[in-house]
Structures are given as structure tokens and as C-alpha cells.
Amino acid sequence: SNNSSSSSNAAVKFSTTYKNSDATDKTATKNGTLKLALVSNSPFQGITDPQLASNASDSMAFAPGNLNNLFKYDKNYKIISGGLADQKLDRSAKTATITIRKNGKWSNGSPVIAKDIEYAYEVLGNKDSTSSQYSSDFENIEGMAAYHKGTADTISGITMPDGENGKVAVIHFQKMSPSMQFVGNSYISQYIEPYEHIKNIPIAKLASSAPVRKNPIFTGAYKLDKVVEGESTSWSPNKFYYGKKAQIGHITINVVSLNNIDKALQSKKYDSVVPFPAASLGGTDYKNLKNVKGFTNVGEPSLGYSYFAFNLGHFDTKTGKNVEDPSKKMSNKSLRQAMMYALNVDQVSKKFGNGVKQRANTLIPPVFQKYYDKNAAGYALNIKKANKLLDDAGYKKRNGSKWRSDPQGKPLTIHFGAMSSNATTEATYQDYLQQWHKVGLNVKLVNGKPIETNSFYDTLQKPSQNTMDLWLGVWSLSSEPSQSQLYGETAPFNMGHFATAKNTQLINKMNDSSAWNDKSRTKTFKDWQEYMNSQAGVVGEQFSYAWQPVNNRVKGFNISPANDVDFYSNLTLTSSSMK
């Protein structure tokens, strides 16, 4: 099995594949319906265009259409050939050449053309585009900046040697980056747009237009039959698909709320949930579902993780850089480390994670097998060490107070920001507070209670804030593991403003020319992880599994990234009714 998890304290081991030994029932497969649940508390938005969609529900709801993914990739998300298109990087010419396979077709039968590739950039970078996925990284493409500003009508850096209807597009960069080898990087879009289908619609109106919402076309194994706004989609095999033909007669995807999913699966309303790298059925769900008859669980490490971050400085809007502020309350490294040692994340993970969560020992999650430092120690519970660190750094209890004061003797109150969520997470916050109280630190929840998500990020995204001294946040990651957008010197999402020279240097190194060498890049990642752990400016809290139960009538269920492109065409059924 393709088991990527080797972390010592994970209690459960998942396989990414459900190896069904039953034989495929041809007629059941052909006439049957595979029922998938989309776990979400809100209806999906119905934007089939992945470049315009702003949350994950849509990509799950339209997954059987394969979301116009250009590339096939391996389990490390590295682009390989065999997908709809192949990519060739030329470091010296600073170009990426994308070649569409001959038989690449949209689900309406029209061929996939070079203009489809180019148009993806136009949609993304258009000054009126409603997409929130554009980032300044794309301005690495020649002419993109001008196009984005609206001073140019086309992107000069993208050429189509065979013409718009050809199969080849060449992208010219100002600078090449090793991350370009990976899918989900921020320089090369992994998507295409069906130019002929949507060309008459102004880009500003694209997201609400009929070709995107009502009668979209896809390049995947299945084609969309029907979409019930916000609720469900249903699919049947796409006969124009270039690859292995889809086998199941129908696939339906229904939105099911987080509250109801356990019951829905237990009562066999669904075969499984739509697989998604960062989708999370949590620990409680696992507890409820692990023993349901007729289901087998599959899983892989999630593309997301949770973390503690400390408020260490501010964002200088003039220079566009994060600057550390030595005067901040949390600037003392010992204090930060002590706080992390005081927590018993292992216990929390065990209790509430039920084995599908584990303490994060670093900031790169295990899904990036190559880069993940499984040997990193991280911060396991060590009260003694925590106390010692504090004592040594001068955080002492003075004047008989039950709380430690700061080295100058001033009372120390630390404000902990946490997002409101379900009861277990909120119980976890309380546990953390208690642990900190145990080492004599007066830590309080900001506002005395968990903060609603919007207010939480609203506060954090201010260039400078003193409301939260540390907080517990969550990242869901891109499949390309570079860290510059999260923790880089200029990254606005570096909300703790951790910005040491060493950090900047290591992060830059992840994407400089040395990084073309896989080994060297791996080392950079491990160095960075070690550095981050030692600094404790941002500390991982928990890693988790993206896991899901699969009904035993399903065959060929493999959620490994390497199988992403062919996931749906590989599925068959072994019986017409659920087991």
C-alpha cells in the first residue's frame, strides 16, 4: 500500500486504496448509481470554473468532471506526462511549453486547443476578473503585469506557435522557479478554460453566466447531467474522454451537512464522500464510523494543518515587508518555547482525534512525504522544561502572585486568539489554557471566548495588532509546498510577522536555482523545519488524515494524488445495492 504515514504517534493507519477483492458486476456498474456525499454546511456555489470558485465545495461538487485539470502528477504532486497535456520547462529559455494531447476533447466533443490554455491566464489576470486566485507571482510571466493593469489587451508572454487552434502554448517567464515542476504552483495555472464555450461572455460576468453554471463542459471522465443549485450534481460517462472510459452509469453528489454525515453514512444513504485532499471528517466522525458494517476506511495525510503563531511584529505597508518588533510581548523565544512545551497536544489528539489526528511536529505536513521531517521532535509535553525555560528567562512569580510576571517584573497577561468551532475544539482551547495556567502563565482567551472566523482574520490581517498575542490558526495548503506565501518576508499571510534573516534566506532557497536539485531542495525544507522549530515563532499544532469510509461495493477506490486524474474512471461497482 501507498502508506505515507509513518509518524510515531498516529494510532490508525490508513491505506489510500480500498482493495476490493470482489469482482466488478458489469451490469450493476453500467446501470448503477454511485452516491457520494459532499460534506459541507452550506450549499455549494455552483461555479464550475475552478479559477473563479472561491471555496472547496465547488471543486468537490464538480470533481467527476475533473475540473479541467491539465496535468497528471505523482504522489508528490510533481507533474508527469500522461495527462491532458504535458509540460516541458526550459530553464535557459525561461519558458514552459505545454502540449495538449491529440485526442484531448471537451465533453461537448470539441477539441481542447492552445487558446484554452492561454485564456485561463486571461481569465485569471483580467482587471475585471472576480477571481481571488490571482497573485503577484503570476507577474513573473512576461506581459502579465501590463495585462492585469489593463494597459495591454493580451499577455505578451504567452505564445501559441500553432495558432489558437493548435495544441501548443509557450509561456515566457522572467525567472524560472523549481516549484514550477509541481502542480498547484503559483506561476503556472493547472487549469484551462473552454474558450470557444465562453468567449462571448465578458470575464467580469463569467462566474454568473450560463456556460459556467448551467451547461458547463469538462475534460474529465464524466460529464455533467444535471445540477440542482447548491444541492447536488449528477454525472454520466463522458464519451469524449481521452483516457480510460468511465464505467459507472451515474454518479450523484449531494451536499450533506457536517452534523448529519455520520448518520447518513450509517444509514447507507451514500457510498462514500467526495475525496478531497484537505476535506476533513474529524476524529469524532471516525469514532462513529470506523465500525460501520459494509464500509472500509481509506485515507491519506491531509493537505492542511493547524498551528500556533505568535505576534512578533508588524507589516510595513510602505516597503511591503514584515518587520519583527523586539518590544512585543512574545518576542522572547524562551517564553514561546515554554508555552509550547506546556501543552499536551498528544493527549488532545488522542482523545479527540481518535487516531486520525496527531501532534504536528513540524510545519510541513506528512503528505509531502519527501519534505516532511518525520524525525523532528516538535514540542511534546514537558512541564519541567517549560518551567525551567521560564525561570531562566526571568519570567518569575513575584510577590506571591500565582502568575508569572515578565522579566522586568511587570504583570504578564497573554491573549490567546481562537476561532469558534465545535464543542471539541472549544474544549481543546480550555485544555490549553489550563496547561498554560499550570506553568504559571496568565493566558486568557481574547474576549473571553472563541472568536468567529471573520472577526478573527479581520483582526489578524491588520498590518499591526495587539489584540492577540498568540493564536491557533489553520492552513489548507496548495499541493506545491513552497512556504513563501505563508511565512515569507513579504507574505501578507505571515500574520505573526516572523521575519528573521535566516528564515528569509531559507525560504528563498526553496525556490532558487539550487532547488532544481531535488536533494538540495529536500535539505532546504528540512533545514527550514528545524529552524522554525527552534525559533518557535510558528509551531504546528495538529496534522490530520483526510480519510473517508467507502462502501464495500465500490471497487478501484484510490485516493492517492497519483491517481487523482484517473480516480473516477477507475471506479466500478461490485453489486447494485450497497453493502
Binding site: N259, N260, D262, K263, T284, N288, Q347, V348, K351, F352, S420, N422, A423, T424, E426, A427, T428, Q430, D431, Q434, L445, N447, G448, K449, P450, I451, E452, S455
Partner: protein, 316 residues
């Protein structure tokens, strides 16, 4: 003229006391007494009254002995401990916190909110209804427009929006927010009664006796609709106990550190908890139902005693 009057009187100041005493012995029972008699005559109602008062007292007093921050400390080892296990008589919730203690403190908080809400919204609604019903013309017209406007507001939505805006809200703020939207029913009821009451001649008599409008409203009319006020207040109190639960369910109620019957019942929003961890929500739900039932039963008795023709108790 003064002499004329005195001529007619053969009452000495000394007689005055005696007469006063004699007269007061003959006085009719006050409405409080009538209600009390009604309770004495109706055993189940007495039971309900005792349950409600006893429970409120118990909860208020018992809550004093519970250290809430301590109670709300999580102990994840006691995650959803079953009743009877780990020394939890009523079990523990997700955070390993005693459900029993939370019930007490939660009931105190919920009842507190209900009392506060009832007090504020009823007082406001009563005054609004009285004033608007008594004065006709522009005052009434203006007040009715405000009332119409308030009626138009989609209540729950507005509360959710307000709760979202106010970052740092607690039970008190929540009570005030609810109060903004809960006075309309009372005011409407009171207004229509005041309208008909104002038509009566005793109001005209008070006016010709030189009594000020303010006094007429609060000293003449209000006592006459007091039974309506009592009934309405009791019933809104019963209703108000459950008000906060709905919002807690939607996630806009009290923060988790402030236990309430609503936050407890909201545990039922996870279908798993319904059966698996029934003790986290069921006792609170039952408690609310019993309280609410008892109070509305009391309301019925009060209503009955307000309506002389339906009285059971002997009052004459």
C-alpha cells in the same frame, strides 16, 4: 358652603378611627389575594407554583456555591463521561464538564435572561401600549408607525446580525438585544385594552377630577388591566425561557463559557449526541419543558382568577 358640609356631618375625629377600622375589615380581597385563593383551590396549580418557585430558588442558591470558571474547566479525559461514571451524577459533556453543575448554572443563566428579558420587554411594552392607547392623535400615530416598523423587522435575522456586530457580548447584552424585539406583542395587547379602557367613563371622571394624564395612565388604567398584564407577563416569561436556545442552536447564542439551557440543548445539533450522549442535552430539554409547562399552567390559573366568571376559588 364649607359650613354647609360640616353641618351635615356628625362624625367626630374620634369616630374616624373606629369607622376606618370597621370599614377596612369589610374590605374586599385584593387581586393578589384572589389569585392566592385560586391557587389554594387548585392543587396542580399549587404544585406548579411550588415547582417553579422552588426550582428558581434552588438554582439561584445552588449556583452561588458553584465556582463557574472551575466548573467550566475542561478535562478532556472525562470527554462525554456517562452519568454515574467518574463521579458525574449527570455525566459530563464534550469538554468533560459536569452536566449536573452546568444544568444548575445554565438554568440560572437562562432564567436570568428570561427574567431580565421579561422585565425589560414587558415594562417597555406595557408603557408603550398604555401611552399609545391612551393618547390618540399624533402621539399614537407616531408610536404606531414605530410599532409597525418593529413588526416588519425579521426578528431572528436582526438578532443574528446584531450579535455578529457586537464582538464582546454576554448574557446581559444578549438580554438587551432580545428585548429590542420582544416588546411588540405585549404593547399590542396592552394598547388594544387601553383603547377600550380609555373609552370608559371613569377615565373621563378622572379627567374632570383634574387628574393628570400621567396619573390616569399609570394609576387608573394600569391597575384595571393588571390582570392582563400579569397573565401576559407570566406567559411571556414561560416563552422567554426558551428564547435563547434557538439562537444557541444556530450558533449565535451565549458563548460556551457561559452555560445556559440553550447551550446545553444545542448539544443535540449533532445527531450522534442525540442517542449516544443523550445526557448532554436531554436533561436541559426536559428541564425547559417542565419549567415552561409549569409557568404556563400558572399563567392559566392567573388568567382564570382574573376572569371572575371562571374562578374556582371562593372569594366572597
Amino acid at each position: 358652603m364649607e359650613e354647609n358640609l360640616n353641618k351635615h356631618s356628625n362624625i367626630s375625629a374620634a369616630d374616624l378611627d373606629r369607622l376606618t377600622k370597621e370599614a377596612s375589615e369589610e374590605a374586599t380581597p385584593s387581586s393578589a389575594k384572589i389569585i392566592w385563593n385560586e391557587f389554594k383551590a387548585d392543587k396542580p396549580a399549587m404544585g406548579a407554583l411550588i415547582i417553579v418557585i422552588g426550582f428558581i430558588l434552588f438554582v439561584m442558591i445552588a449556583a452561588l456555591f458553584i465556582n463557574t470558571p472551575k466548573m467550566m474547566e475542561t478535562n478532556i479525559m472525562n470527554y462525554n463521561a456517562a452519568p454515574g461514571s467518574n463521579g458525574f451524577l449527570f455525566g459530563a459533556d464534550t469538554g468533560g464538564r459536569s452536566v449536573g453543575q452546568q444544568l444548575i448554572v445554565g438554568a440560572r443563566n437562562s432564567i436570568g435572561i428570561a427574567i431580565g428579558l421579561t422585565l425589560i420587554s414587558s415594562t417597555f411594552g406595557i408603557c408603550w401600549g398604555l401611552i399609545s392607547g391612551y393618547f390618540n392623535g399624533y402621539i399614537d400615530w407616531g408610536m404606531q408607525r414605530v410599532y409597525d416598523f418593529m413588526m416588519m423587522l425579521p426578528m431572528t435575522m436582526m438578532i443574528i446580525v446584531l450579535v455578529t456586530i457586537i464582538k464582546n457580548y454576554n448574557a446581559v447584552t444578549l438580554t438587551f438585544i432580545f428585548s429590542i424585539f420582544y416588546w411588540e406583542g405585549t404593547s399590542r395587547l396592552i394598547r388594544s385594552r387601553t383603547l377600550s379602557e380609555s373609552e370608559k367613563d371613569y377615565v373621563a371622571a378622572a379627567k374632570t377630577s383634574g387628574t393628570s394624564n400621567f396619573k390616569i395612565i399609570f394609576k387608573e388604567i394600569m391597575p384595571n388591566i393588571s390582570s392582563l398584564i400579569i397573565v401576559d407577563t407570566t406567559l411571556s416569561f414561560a416563552e422567554n425561557i426558551g428564547v435563547e436556545t434557538g439562537l444557541s442552536y444556530l450558533g449565535f447564542g451565549l458563548p460556551i463559557q457561559t452555560p445556559s439551557l440553550g447551550t446545553l440543548i444545542a448539544n443535540a445539533n449533532d445527531p450522534n449526541n442525540i442517542t449516544q450522549y443523550w445526557w448532554t442535552w436531554l436533561p436541559a430539554a426536559i428541564l425547559i419543558i417542565i419549567l415552561c409547562l409549569s409557568i404556563s399552567y400558572i399563567g392559566q390559573v392567573v388568567r382564570r382568577s382574573a376572569d371572575a366568571s371562571q374562578r374556582h376559588g371562593i372569594t366572597d
